[in-house]
Symmetry: C2
Subunit: 301 residues, 2 copies
């Protein structure tokens, strides 16, 4: 990527998570070396390397721990290894934060100084840009919007507390809400029949059924959007960003989802915030993380 | 105040709100001129002047509107007038924001980069310092913590929506909670008797009764602290500041209040936030606003 955010080359490699994920960083290094050779480029041609990672990222040390999808249960000295092997300055942040940077810079955030990004996927993550800076907080947890409490007596969360946004607005959360509401729903519904028949349904199934006017599915979507609107509204009341951007797999439901979140956002915000903070859909998809991660390297320019 | 935050002189003048508050700024100017003469100082001796104001402050323009306690219903060109009359650079922000700056710099915030200040008074206000910067947001509403929705079906707020933190945690909010809970409370309680007798009670009466073990008052305080803990917890989950500082008149209840907010804060935060974000009492009282306002002038240094 250029310093202006224009992608020059994009490629991907397989992620080999065997042997505690110990091949991942060496494989990335080998791939970059191969590219440099191929195009006859060297380290002087680069300002830096930026990376986004799942798990718990220590941005100062450039290390990652607890990225379970990668089998990284032990501390990984990513920055140290990459800088040693490639001689290019390296910066890293967590995957939701770099996606926030990307959407803020080149996507729905319109490069405003105050932008919040929320990603609704297998979990719910987020990143906050305020007064032009990505926030990290005291222990790197700023932007962990998935663990905002939206229902004090709600579902138990993997984090140990109850009623986190993630328990109702992640892909599994949507299905959890469907299962709960199906117990008290008596009318006709194809979606409810499938649940009652023990079929595995997905978040997409719920939204598809709702968009096809299944009354039970509409009720589930309404409940999910109530909680999303409450969380997004309180982000607005607290930080008054120009844009709150919703991305991730669940947001594939698009305007059908956004408009319903907007309705509750308006209910839960005071007038000045309602009129100055915009709830938008993400525009960059997976590219947000790529662009945002690469943008971390601009600090070395 | 020196640039290091040492107060050199402190005085106050009467606030004359007659005739739409048109005397306030001229009175301030006259008082400053009198002081300058008295100590044989002139504008070159000052880096700048900082001011905190109630109402809606346009920090770029240096104007204030809607400060009803001052009778300022029309736009006041405060910066223009003061700079013209005194020839000293002038900066202004709202009263909760400058109090946040003061508590962050010289009070309970310990000059950390991530500090949130909440003031529980006749209303509930706040200010947020994140990554070292005071946040304003898209329309200057960042930090309006009083309008975070803590109870979707709660009391109506002056802002037009329901269940704002202010409706239950301001001085009048505490009494409102007491009146609501008294309807369903049947046991013995001196405080409830006073309410039932039509006596006017204050927030202080509620906390005094609770500290004297009045069972009904304890229930009211518990409910107020539940909502405060929920709001403060979600500030922690969202921004993970080092310190969340509670000030204002209601916080005169001190550790009795703080410890109860802490209990709910722990219930509503995930472990990393619970362990890295501290709920503290403000330390500076009214001085927070004085120091924070003066600190605005450091931008001219």
């Amino acid at each position: 990527m250029t310093e202006d955010g224009e992608i020059q080359q994009k490629w991907s490699i397989e992620t080999n998570i065997l042997e505690d994920g110990r091949h991942i960083v060496p494989d990335i290094i080998a791939s970059i070396k191969h590219r440099l050779d191929l195009y006859d480029m060297d380290k002087e041609d680069f300002v830096g390397i930026g990376m986004g990672s799942p798990g718990s990222v220590d941005i100062a040390a450039g290390t990652v721990i607890g990225a379970y999808n990668l089998n990284w249960t032990e501390l990984q000295p990513v920055k140290e290894t990459i800088e040693r092997e490639l001689g290019i300055p390296f910066a890293i942040d967590n995957d939701a934060n770099v996606a926030a940077l990307g959407e803020r810079w080149k996507g729905a955030g319109e490069n405003e100084d105050d932008v919040i990004f929320i990603t609704l996927g297998t979990g719910v993550g987020g990143g906050i840009v305020a007064a032009g800076q990505l926030l990290h907080g005291a222990a790197g947890c700023a932007g962990e919007i998935g663990h905002v409490t939206v229902d004090p007596n709600g579902f138990e969360c993997t984090c140990g507390k109850r009623g986190c946004l993630e328990t109702v607005a992640s892909a599994t959360g949507v299905v959890r809400v469907a299962r709960q509401l199906s117990e008290e729903y008596a009318g006709p519904s194809d979606l409810k029949s499938r649940l009652d028949d023990g079929e595995d349904i997905s978040s997409k199934d719920v939204f598809d059924a709702a968009q096809a006017d299944d009354p039970f599915a509409l009720r589930v979507v309404d409940r999910v959007c109530f909680f999303l609107g409450l969380a997004v509204g309180n982000l607005g009341n607290t930080l008054n960003p120009t844009h709150i951007v919703i991305g991730g797999g669940v947001s594939a439901a698009g305007e059908f989802l956004r408009s319903r979140v907007q309705t509750y956002f308006e209910q839960f915000t005071f007038p000045q915030v309602r009129n100055s903070t915009h709830v938008k859909l993400a525009e960059l998809g997976n590219e947000a993380g790529v662009i945002g991660a690469a943008s971390l390297a601009r600090q070395f320019a």
